[in-house]
Symmetry: C2
């Protein structure tokens, strides 16, 4: 997500916060995820950010409505942009979404598709083992293919032509999911969300006024070493990370 935003908005500074001491969020309750999200928002407010992207699908699904009401800056999530992209690329209006248990159980994607007001049908499936498989580097692995075949079997009879990868970690499994699903478009919400960031800043007149290369600062709540190990799965470049207890 930081890369997608940086690509769209090279002049903007980004503050990334990863709640590594308390992840995964994917099977936690709405009340707990809202509490954690508010603590992170307090950190963001201290850092005087001009807008916030909730770049975790579970946190977006469970806390976005609550956060939007509370803070004086624009807060955007990753559900709306992902659905918008999927609705745009789907030809037959039959869309699948995969995510964590809490994301799927929340019904956030169902509500968003209904709100899009089109004659789309959404089919959803939680895939709770995908995050630990990615974090433990079972990526192009026969075990991961077997898990994916199990999770995705139900989509076969639904004739979807588009599948939303509704979790930060799932694009890492793009090859596996793609091979198991066959001829289906896979939608990763990060570039659509970055477009929404750009549109929001522009609409509110909040774009960076200086023209210079924006910097990204990374913060995590657990020790830096663990994050550096996992972030290598997602990021190619070497990054500088600080720990902050929230």
């Amino acid at each position: 997500m930081t890369r997608s935003i940086h690509r769209q908005l090279p002049d903007e500074d980004i503050i990334y916060f990863g709640d590594t001491a308390r992840v995964p969020y994917g099977n936690k309750s709405r009340a707990t995820v809202i509490r954690f999200a508010r603590e992170i928002m307090a950190f963001m407010m201290e850092n005087r950010v001009k807008m916030v992207v909730v770049a975790c699908n579970t946190a977006s699904s469970l806390s976005l409505t609550s956060l939007k009401k509370t803070y004086p800056v624009p807060v955007i999530g990753v559900i709306t942009p992902g659905v918008r992209d999927a609705v745009r690329v789907s030809k037959n209006g039959r869309i699948g979404v995969i995510g964590t248990s809490s994301t799927i159980a929340s019904g956030a994607y169902d509500r968003e598709v209904a709100r899009a007001g089109l004659s789309c049908r959404l089919f959803s499936k939680s895939c709770p083992l995908f995050v630990p498989l990615v974090e433990n580097r079972f990526i192009n692995d026969p075990i991961t293919y077997e898990v994916a075949r199990r999770y995705l079997a139900g989509f076969k009879t639904r004739h979807i032509d588009t599948l939303i990868l509704g979790c930060t970690h799932y694009p890492i499994l793009r090859t596996v999911i793609g091979k198991v699903m066959g001829n289906v478009r896979l939608v990763d919400s990060s570039s659509a969300a970055a477009e929404e960031v750009k549109a929001t800043l522009s609409k509110k007149g909040l774009e960076a006024s200086r023209r210079r290369r924006g910097k990204t600062r990374y913060y995590v709540s657990d020790d830096v070493e663990g994050f550096s190990r996992v972030s290598g799965i997602f990021l190619k470049e070497k990054i500088n990370v600080k720990k902050v207890v929230i």
Copy 2:
């Protein structure tokens, strides 16, 4: 663990705390696990407990030394009792241990076997996918067998005769691990730890003075529903759970 303690000490009341808002601990750092453990200890002290069992192998490995120094009550972990049991049952002195990434990386089992001062050799392997497999009910499942074969392959050439199940969740996979390992004794530390609880209470003269059936109260840090779902994997009886934010 609560069942093992209740079986050994039917007159004692038990307060269980499960940090469901922040688990899993298995890949978290020492500093973070110690911080969380201290917060839980504060809750235990408020409840005026007479001793504490750190019934999580990761928390035992990373925080026990620190906790023992700080609190006015006896604090015991699950590493020492597990090693004691393994050393007792092993015939050839070649012992394996499996656990989370943080447990294995901590070296706690290596130190404990060295301290036992015997000519035992310890071989260790982290099995980070076992916890999510159990929690997602991939129990007697071909995928779990495949993961177990992968993780445990290295033990084959080590000629171990005893394997310590060094994580709360692993006894649920006893059948899978047993079939993959063949003729190897599996050691689950919970009954050995319950014996140590009994011995400690007796030594300090802290046993319950009344003779009546002890009660177990369950507390968790996330919503109760999620815990009730997962606890069904571990416990047969129906239990009463309360949420407490620490």
